[in-house]
Subunit: 215 residues, 2 copies
Amino acid sequence: MPKIHDITLAMTPRMPVWPGGPKPVMDRVMSIGQDGAPCNVTQLNFGAHTGTHLDAPLHFIKDGNGVEKLDLDVLVGPALLVEVGDDVDMVTRETLEELDIPAGTERLLIRSRNSLAWASNPEDFDETFVAISPCGARWLVEQGIKLVGVDYLSVAPFRDDYSIETHVILLEAGVIPVEGLNLAEVDPGQYQLACLPIKIEGCDGAPCRTVLIEE
Amino acid sequence: MPKIHDITLAMTPRMPVWPGGPKPVMDRVMSIGQDGAPCNVTQLNFGAHTGTHLDAPLHFIKDGNGVEKLDLDVLVGPALLVEVGDDVDMVTRETLEELDIPAGTERLLIRSRNSLAWASNPEDFDETFVAISPCGARWLVEQGIKLVGVDYLSVAPFRDDYSIETHVILLEAGVIPVEGLNLAEVDPGQYQLACLPIKIEGCDGAPCRTVLIEE
């Protein structure tokens, strides 16, 4: 049986969320034995961009597709996991060129120092996270990358100008950004990726359970 | 590239939910251009057992595992899709014995007349859905089935006694029930299943994007 690596963050009421956004709420509305209830039932309330999630074009493109229309042939298939050094603050065109990514790579996951921080179960949002610059995003589009995964809550750096530009470059080109991965426990290399977002009609993003299967 | 079949219901504000439960709410809290917002952002509010979802042991077992602890080696792997006749009202031991399910089958998806109804985008819950009787559930456990998928919103019939018993038999044995599949467009046969629930800490269930990949 091939080994399956879970690279998804657990969703908890404590986890960091985008500044200004509400933390996830899990509300137990039925509990076994209370008022004769036979079972436990939970009501969920969270933002579409919480934890490990992906962005649909609609996130930054007014008439873009919702998450339910993303192509499963992109969300499932071979993926390359690469690593940038702990000294890398931003993934630029130059950072990417130095990685010797093979031509034909369609799904790329980038491990950075971000992944190290997940082990301590942080609760606060860290604005200094490593992400992809607009020129890095353009390079990904030029290379024919169709899905790019990163290990903090946004594919774009925390600066208004870069945040918008990196997202728009990727989403207009049809590249799927997968955000909030925990890549700490997985070695760089080739895997089979399955990144499956919940299928919410007309939504700008969705949590996506994401696994890497050893080949 | 192997063909991927999506057997997941789209989550919408109109879809049927368990009687008494609230329908899903997708609340657009930021919209491009409104108040200078650069992007669309949606807040989600829905029950853990909405649409295509699975049950964790915690749903009916007081100290059972939450959905985040379900075994990915069960959620991903070979699966058999079988069909019962449109005249079948309940999947019993006899129904299952007649299907000639090969020994060693670990993941079983059962298509019934339920699947036909999804094409009309129903909004109301249908209490007459086809589901698995307690004796059918016992047979699945005896056969070593580890995951069973059905095409309406519960694995158990809509009767208080049967609803509890079928769930408890399966969940106590560690069988994962996957509920609310749409199997209308997929032929019976062998596939690779990927059924990936969102990873909600300590939750009794979760929506799970579910796909069948042709072998």
